[in-house]
Subunit: 229 residues, 2 copies
Amino acid sequence: MGKKAVVLLSGGMDSATAMAMAREEGFELYALSIMYGQKNEVELEKAKKIAKHLGATEHLIVPLSLKIIGGSSLTSMESPVPKGRSIEEIGKRIPSTYVPARNTVFLSVALAWAEVLEAEDMFIGINALDYSGYPDCRLEYIKAFEAMAHLATKAGVEGRMQLRIHTPLIGLRKAEIIAKGVALGVDYSLTHSCYDPLPHGGACGECDSCKLRLKGFQEAGLRDPITYG
Amino acid sequence: MGKKAVVLLSGGMDSATAMAMAREEGFELYALSIMYGQKNEVELEKAKKIAKHLGATEHLIVPLSLKIIGGSSLTSMESPVPKGRSIEEIGKRIPSTYVPARNTVFLSVALAWAEVLEAEDMFIGINALDYSGYPDCRLEYIKAFEAMAHLATKAGVEGRMQLRIHTPLIGLRKAEIIAKGVALGVDYSLTHSCYDPLPHGGACGECDSCKLRLKGFQEAGLRDPITYG
C-alpha cells in the first residue's frame, strides 16, 4: 500500500477525478466529506459511492454546519441559487453560491485528520479555469494555507509532517478533467454537480455548476451520463 | 457601537479575558464557541454565561466533531488526560491533550462568520508563556493564518476585508492575565479550565490546565473563585 493521502471528496466530478489521480499516483485514499448544510446534500450519497468505486480505505463524513453561519445561497432556503446564466457571465464576479471560507474550513478539518493518520499529502479538486471565481480555488491561496499548516500541527513542529496540498486539476479545463477521469476509469454517473437538484435528485441543468459541467462534456465530445430535469 | 469583532470563547479564563480586552478596545462582541466533543463540554455552559456577562451581541455555538477525527486525550474516552504533572514538566513537550489542528479549525469557522458579519477583527486568547506548548498557540502560526485568510475570502479579494487576528494575551504570564481580567471586571467564577472535570462539574486540580490556572492565581495573590474537587 502506498502513502496515505486525505482527499476532499464533495461528490462532484472534480473531486472524484482528483481522487482517481491520487490513486493513479499510488496513494492510499482517505476520503473526507463535509455535511455543511448544503442544498445539494444529495452529493454526499454520491460521495459514498465514489469513495467505494475508487477503493478508498476509509470515508469520513464530518457534520459541520456552515448553514448556521449563513452568507451563501448554497445554504440558505431564503436565497435562490442563480439560474440560466451564460458561460460568459459565470466567473465574471463571485456569485452568491460562494460559501464564506468553505475551503479553509474543509482543509482545516482535512489537516486535523491528516495529522491523526500521519498522512503528509492532501488532495483538493479545485480548478481555476472553468470555475465560478471563488477566491479559495486559487493556487496562491492553497500555497498560503500550506505555509500556515506547516506551523499549525504537533507533527509539523516535531518534524514528522511536511504537508503537501495537491491540486492536480488547477490548470485543467473542464473537458480535460473529464477526459482524464474517463481515462482513469471514473464512472461519472456516480457524480453530482447541481447546486439545486430537483426533489428526486435530478440535476437542474440551469445553475452555474450544471452549465460548466455540460459545457465540459460537450467540449470533451462525450455524453454526460447523469439525469437532467 | 464600535466595530464588530469575532471572539473565540472556550469558556476558559484566557478567552474570557481576551473578550474583556476586546470590549475595552470598544469592539462589538460576537462570541464563537465550538462543540467539538471535548471531555470538558461543561465549558460551553460557562461560555454562555461569560458571553452574557461581557455583553456579547451574539453567541454562536457551532457543533463540529473533532472527536470522530480523534488523536487527542481531550476527546477520547479511551485515553486519559495527564494528571499530577509539575509545572516544570508542563510545556516541555506537547502533551496528549493537544487536539490536532484545533485552532486552525476554530479560526477557519471564525473567519467564515467574520466574513458574513463584515467584521475585520478576530480575537483569540492564546498565550505562549504559561501554556502547554501547543504549536497553534504561537504568534508565527497566527501570522501565517492571517496571511492565508487575506487570500481566502470573497470580501478579502474584493478589498472589503483586511483581517486582523488579535492575540492580546500572547506575551502575558497567567498571573498577569488574571490581574488584567480582574481590573476589567471579569468574573472568573464563571470560567472553567479543567480538562477532566468531576461528574458534578468541579475542577480536578490535577490536570495541566488546572495546575497552570492555580499557579496563576497564586502568583497574582488572588483566590481562585471556582470549586476544586
